[in-house]
Amino acid sequence: MSEFRVTLSPALGGRAAVSRKGISVEAQPEGTLLHLLVDPTMGDAVRLAADLMAAGLELRPLTTGQWFAVGDTALAHADLAALSATLKPQADIVDQSHGRVRIIVKGKMAARVLSKGTAVDLDIAVFPVGHATTTLFGHISAHVTRIGEDAFELIVLRGFAESLWDELAQMSLEFS
């Protein structure tokens, strides 16, 4: 055994949830976030979804031939290798569990606050639950999924997580 005990330093480790009237912003645990690159000739989200659900992960559409699979707990190295093997040759997994940070914005005012950053129309009629897209949020690119009527998950590059957090805190100030 090694003499060293390593610990994690999550990007938003020190951030307490922002909670205001009708809006809260909270960092998700840095669990699992896999980037799936699908063989363009074999892309079939249905089969992928079954394998991923078995691993406790949810699918988020990303772009042509690409998905994110997210989960709140970290996948062990061996389990990840096994999942990788299962998905081949249909999809390659690129582990982004540390490269992306998930932030949940929820509450009645969530869509309004997010509208200060993005030009995407978040009206539930055109952006229903489960819908996802990548957009510029202020100056930061982020992936947005509607995970509930009044709840959104943002996925952002780890290096920008603090900045995006600060922006969200600023933009929700209206409801303090």
């Binding site: 990303l62 772009t63 042509t64 030009a119 995407v120 897209t133 990548t134 957009t135 510029l136 690119s141």
Partner: protein, 90 residues
């Protein structure tokens, strides 16, 4: 201010989400004549009216698009994924 580009994958998005590369020209064969390559690398038309360009939806789906727009009115006539072949006309 703003103007919206309709990405075939993402819908209407502000131009700030995109990166423009320039004229959507077909890359010549590697053994094409030197003047063909000169045209491709250096020479550009500057039409008033319809113009085809490569736009990258950098802060969105990260797909390269071929955008046909009017250089005078900014109207966008067409916008499709660059991987769809046969629509780029030099």
């Amino acid at each position: 201010m703003a103007s919206l580009v309709t990405c075939p994958h993402c819908g209407k998005r502000p131009k700030e989400e995109f990166t423009v590369k320039g004229a959507a020209l077909t890359r010549p064969a590697v053994d094409a004549a030197q003047d063909v390559w000169f045209d491709y690398v250096y020479l550009r038309d500057n039409p008033r009216g319809a113009y085809q360009e490569y736009w990258h939806h950098t802060s969105g789906c990260r797909r390269w698009l071929v955008v046909t727009r009017d250089t005078a009115t900014h109207e966008i006539f067409q916008c499709h994924d660059a991987a769809e072949r046969g629509e780029v006309t030099a």
